[in-house]
């Protein structure tokens, strides 16, 4: 049977993970840890912020994980992982120095070129901040290409705060306006209290110049999108990253489908315009 136009010879390793060294382990909270990775051959992952990789733990399995750093000269990349299943629990057991497997990068990621010249409103709920950290690092590396940057970061309790030793540098070196909130009052917290939408009334945005990048738990989207629209942002300028359970990462297995889109191929980053008519999206 003649299968024409086939690229298969170049893709015989489509499902084969590449050996990757864990160069650093940096626990974040009781639930999340961050690992830094480097391919054994030192090659660059070649990713955009917002893309994901399939992480393979030998003898355990594979899981899709957001990349949490911007490309860097050392060719390392970070993953920040919440302990939820077999693979993520195994990631939490890593000490550093081990070799695990990586496939990818997959998905579209954030189009950092298209965001140039705009003010950015970065909204992260809980571990939604993880893929956005790559954006924040990228913007800090190319600070002159972007306008004003405001980061809203909400978490349930102070103990769940991620990247706590980096947040100051986002403000000082990154020249970004960082606003934190915890959902409910807590003895260890003297800052703003309330769900993330309570940070919106005080925001001064130029809706013509601003692009919002929103990542969080499913429940968060509808409320944050409403706030963004009330601030005058067009639906094209509200950019989301959606979570689904990708198994293959290459548009075959069907698990990550939202209506007619494959999150692993067409996403995970979508504008609200793209998904607002998709009843399975948010």
């Amino acid at each position: 049977m003649a299968l024409e136009l086939c690229q298969c010879e170049r893709e015989s390793d489509l499902y084969v993970p590449r050996p990757t060294r864990v160069t650093r382990v940096k626990p974040q909270t009781t639930l999340e840890t961050m690992i830094t990775l480097q391919f054994l051959d030192g090659a660059d992952l070649g990713h955009r912020p917002g893309q994901f990789v399939q992480v393979f733990i030998p003898a355990i399995g594979e899981a899709p994980i957001s990349i949490c750093s911007a490309p860097n000269p050392e060719n390392t990349f970070d993953l920040c992982v919440r302990k939820l299943g077999d693979v993520t629990s195994a990631i939490h057991r890593l000490q550093g120095g081990e070799v695990i497997g990586i496939r990818g990068p997959f998905g579209n990621g954030f189009d950092m070129e298209a965001l140039q010249g705009h003010d950015l409103l970065i909204v992260g709920g809980g571990i939604g901040l993880v893929p956005l950290r790559g954006v924040i690092q990228y913007v800090a590396q190319h600070r002159e290409d972007y306008g004003e940057v405001t980061i809203l970061y909400g978490f349930k309790t102070p103990a769940e705060q991620l990247f706590r030793d980096e947040l100051d540098s986002w403000v000082t070196e990154g020249q970004m306006d960082l606003r934190l909130t915890v959902d409910r009052p807590h003895p260890d917290w003297s800052g703003h209290v309330g769900v993330i939408t309570t940070l919106f009334p005080d925001l001064k945005l130029n809706p013509q110049r601003t692009k919002a990048l929103v990542v969080g738990p499913p429940i968060m989207y509808q409320f944050v999108i409403t706030e963004c629209r009330l601030k005058g942002l067009a639906d094209d300028n509200i950019i989301l990253s959606l979570e689904r359970r990708m198994r293959c990462g290459v548009g075959k297995c069907g698990h990550c489908q939202i209506n007619n889109k494959y999150v692993c191929m067409d996403g995970p980053v979508f504008t609200f315009s793209e998904v607002k008519h998709m009843w399975e999206a948010i």
């Binding site: 049977m1 015989s12 399995g61 594979e62 069907g254 698990h255």
Partner: protein, 349 residues
């Protein structure tokens, strides 16, 4: 290309010739049952070419129910390699609907990324098609898959008494006929086969709309009562996806040897009608309700993939409704949607 005639003895010799170079798989009748299955031919006389649709489509010979994609040795570092196992195989006696199904998977598996395992198996696969015997469930005529004009190396149309008209689809097909010394078909024989096909198509179940318009009929139908009406009886057992020639979805699982020296990553058939198909790590299920899963499956078949690839991802074989415990019927669903979009209310909703 001329159409030739092969008689019963010729078919036997053809199969024996093919067995010299490849594994030959053909429909067999299950002992004592009115059911058929594709299995490897050991005795050509056991092949049953005049059969109603098999329980499972032949896609499993290119997309096994379970297949190893990657083999690895544990250790530091681990060593992984692709596993692509393919062998020469002839699918002998495939109905047009199933040929259409294989073509659907060719398109989807080679879109953007090319699945190396599917392609390796298909590259070594030859197809001998045969016209079918419809039953009360199939609707291939409505889907336009009662006949196919490509996707086979040879195609056989029954003339009676075990003889067939032979249509050649590819050069490989022509080579299969070498040495068989077949006579040319007469005009009367060709006309008789055409007439039989036309009559058969008229008898089949119909969809009350040109199928080219189906994606249009799905527009605005996300909230239709049709989905709840039909999903009400669904057991979420997943039989419909497991027997579907155009279903492609899979899960990936790891198997590790008992001595913890090596392991494999295997893919296994999976399906969007199963309850946990769209569950993510946090536990959220994006298609928690039965009607959401039924709706997704039908949108995928008749709208999403149809629009993306220009053909319905349903071959009209009727296996889903035939094997469904409660006979949830895509023809009834489609006709309900069509009636609703033409202005009527959903019957029984």
């Amino acid at each position: 290309m001329t159409v030739r005639v092969i008689d019963k003895q010729g078919v036997r010799r053809l199969v024996e010739n093919l067995q010299q170079e490849a594994k030959v798989v053909a429909p067999h009748r299950r002992e004592g049952e009115n059911q058929w299955a594709f299995q490897e031919v050991t005795d050509p006389d056991q092949i049953c070419l005049e059969y109603v649709t098999t329980c499972l489509p032949p896609k499993e010979f290119a997309f096994p129910t379970r297949e190893t994609l990657v083999r690895y040795r544990l250790g530091d570092p681990f060593a992984a390699e692709a596993v692509i196992q393919a062998e020469p195989i002839v699918l002998f006696g495939v109905h047009p609907c199933d040929i259409y199904g294989l073509q659907c998977l060719d398109i989807a598996y080679c879109d953007e990324h090319c699945d190396p395992n599917w392609v390796a198996r298909r590259a070594q696969m030859r197809i001998v098609g045969v016209d079918c015997i419809p039953d009360e469930w199939c609707f291939c005529a409505a889907m336009g898959t009662a006949t196919v004009d490509s996707g086979f190396d040879l195609f056989l149309n029954a003339l009676g008494d075990g003889a067939y008209l032979v249509e050649v689809g590819t050069e490989a097909g022509e080579k299969m006929l070498a040495g068989l010394e077949l006579r040319e078909a007469t005009a009367a024989e060709i006309a008789a086969v055409k007439k039989r096909l036309t009559q058969r198509i008229k008898r089949e179940r119909q969809i009350e709309e040109d199928t080219r318009n189906l994606p249009l009929r799905f527009t605005g139908k996300a909230q239709s009562p049709v989905w709840e009406k039909h999903a009400e009886r669904c057991y979420s057992c997943g039989t419909c996806v497991l027997v579907c020639p155009t279903c492609i979805c899979f899960d990936v699982v790891d198997e590790v040897s008992l001595d913890l020296q090596e392991g494999t990553r295997d893919r296994v058939w999976d399906g969007c009608m199963l309850e946990d198909f769209a569950v993510v790590a946090s536990g959220e299920n994006f298609r928690e309700e039965r009607f959401q899963r039924l709706r997704h499956r039908h949108f995928r078949k008749y709208a999403y993939l149809f629009t993306k690839y220009g053909r319905p991802y349903c071959c009209g074989c009727g296996r889903c409704v035939r094997q469904c415990l409660v006979h949830i019927d895509p023809v009834a669903i489609l006709n309900d949607l069509i009636a609703e979009s033409k202005g009527g209310a959903t019957r029984g909703a």
